[in-house]
Amino acid sequence: MAFDYEKWLRPNKLPHIWCPGCGHGIVMKGLIRAMETLKLEKENTTIVSGIGCASRLPGYIDCCTLHTAHGRAAAFATGVKMAKPEMNVILVGGDGDGTAIGGNHFIHACRRNIDMTYIIMNNYIYGMTGGQFSPCTPTGHKASTTPYGNPDPGFDIAKLAIGAGATFVARGTAFHANQIDKLITEAIQHKGFSVVEILDDCPTTYGRRNKFKSVIEMMNRLKEVAVPVKAAEKMTAEQLQGKVLTGVLYKEEKAHYTDEYAKVIERAKAAK
């Protein structure tokens, strides 16, 4: 039987705003499969986003959904989770939203290790505003505000998350659709702050400026650069040149924030 996506969607809010060829829909389906696998209760699941194309995702999902301001998803979500620790809190958004304007909230959510899952759709560009370079646009690439090539070095989101203290970090791609739900499932199950970066594509504002002839070519590129962590272990540094590791990159069991705060409450009550 075909998978029933519709029971998780708000059909009257579709069609979505994403362009043909955009990978965000693939990620949304992955998230839905993960939520179905985990049998999450819709009423007890809050999906939070910032601003941008990817941040429109919550509006399509039939849960508690919070479309916040640009970059602020992690900070709003922290409030929701602290107020209701039993709530499943899932954040979604793009690379610009999460690592530029929202960079501070992102690293501090990692540091606190608060039990939420952040899915970052990294399409290397600000899509909604028409293709300006983001902190993830590769050096030398073109965007509407880097007409002579991007002088900035890009962020490695996964490394940033690990460095900042996230205790589960995974990476997938929009091409490897069947892996997305598995990564998200594991991320949601993980106790602590989990980050799932999905390398995505934006044919409309990034692809056409950077000589990708078609969506298929962009997808093929994702296929070519992705190397599963296990396979990478057997490869030389030379072979790994220009490749991107995918799969679960980091996992650590560690005290998480709302549990720690519950202990603060216990200590405060004891001291009363």
Binding site: G79, A83, Y261
Partner: protein, 377 residues
């Protein structure tokens, strides 16, 4: 039974007032001269099972309280000028998404870092015009430690009643001075609960105007699923650009406050019955003004004071009425004439306005005010 009495600082009283009002979530960021509020909340909230979080920045603190409020908490943040500037982005979010929250802002010198430990009253315009777009504004300016306590409770009540952010803005003098405070008994001051939905979850719309201008707000995790956005929205909470819907929703958001001015606006009339010269003052400045009025009366001058307790919405009606019958207004304030402009707007040339504007970090003393009172002819 005698009531509990304490000798408290304004900021400490604000925190105690919040607890009386049932605040169970505080999100903040350290900033002088308001940090004591955060410190008291960090001690007291966990004792009652509440949550305190120090966020990574001022914007994050504002975001956290909005998120927590949507999850059903009664929320507070505290800040001061530079922090208020940062919070403006999400104060606007609170206005459009109609999320109850209280912002306690201690006014220090500005702009920018200004004079962090000096008193000021220069954020009052920021309370109304700080965030972009048309939006409702409620701002209370207490003048004593006791009043700070009570006005914080009122701020929570107004915020829940009208589903909108409410600001409490003492100047630094009020925030840091210590005075005797008498605590009310539980139940003595009314605490207004959030209007909860009466319809089942499948029928719930977060902006359902069939329940009036202030629709009931469900909370995340209570069985209700709904969407919240900072975009212009329809009654079901989803974004729209439909002209007539946007117009109607924007007007409703502002009307929540505008149509209820008499419920929101509070003020004190001191020696006004026969007053020919009226000092309009708020916050710590009103304390000097009261003294000046007393001395003026002793000297045979018919002076009085109109003390603003609710700065926004501004007491337009009352100032208009006074302008029609007095010889002149004296407006002392620790800024370069913000309240004075509002009085001018209402006086419409019917009475002159003599301002005393200080931005040097020093309080306005009674002598200065008395001198101005005497200048009114």
């Amino acid at each position: 039974m005698s009531k509990k009495v304490a000798f408290l600082q304004g900021n400490e009283a604000a925190a105690q007032g919040a607890l009386y009002a049932g605040c169970n979530f505080f999100g903040g960021y350290p900033i002088t001269p308001s940090t004591e509020v955060a410190e008291v909340m960090s001690i007291e909230l966990p004792k009652v099972g509440g949550k305190f979080i120090q966020m990574e920045d001022e914007i994050g603190a504002m975001a956290a309280i909005l998120g927590a409020s949507l999850a059903g908490s009664k929320v507070l943040t505290s800040t001061s000028g530079p922090g208020l500037s940062l919070k403006q982005e999400l104060i606007g979010y609170g206005c459009i998404a109609e999320i109850p929250c209280v912002i306690y802002n201690v006014m220090r010198g500005g702009p920018s870092t200004g004079m962090p430990t000096g008193p000021s009253q220069s954020d009052v315009m920021c309370a109304k015009w700080g965030t972009h777009g048309d939006h409702p504004a409620i701002c209370l300016t207490p003048a004593s430690v006791q009043e700070t306590y009570e006005e914080v409770i009122r701020a929570f009540n107004l915020s829940e009643k009208y589903r909108t952010p409410v600001m409490v803005m003492p100047d630094e003098i009020i925030a840091h001075m210590r005075e005797r405070i008498v605590f009310p008994e539980p139940g003595e001051i009314e605490v207004v609960p959030r209007k909860a939905p009466t319809v089942p979850p499948e029928q719930y719309k977060p902006y359902d105007t069939s329940f009036g201008d202030v629709p009931p707000l469900a909370s995340f995790g209570s069985g209700y699923k709904f969407h919240v956005t900072g975009l212009n929205k329809m009654q079901d909470g989803f974004p729209t650009t439909k002209a007539e819907v946007v117009q109607a929703e924007e007007e409703r958001q502002v009307r929540k406050v505008d149509a209820n001015v008499d419920d929101i606006v509070q003020f004190e009339e001191y020696e006004l019955a026969d007053a020919e010269v009226v000092v309009v003052a708020y916050g710590s400045t009103s304390r000097s003004a009261r003294y000046a009025v007393n001395v003026a009366r002793e000297q045979g001058i018919k002076a009085g004071m109109f003390r603003i307790k609710t700065f926004w919405p501004f007491p337009d009606k009352q100032i208009k009425a006074l302008a029609a019958k007095v010889k002149g207004f004296v407006v002392p304030e620790m800024n370069l004439g913000m309240c004075a402009l509002e009085i001018e707007r209402n006086a419409q040339g019917k009475a002159p306005i003599l301002g005393i504007f200080r931005v040097d970090g020093e309080p306005i003393n009674p002598d200065q005010i008395l001198e101005k009172i005497k200048e009114v002819k």
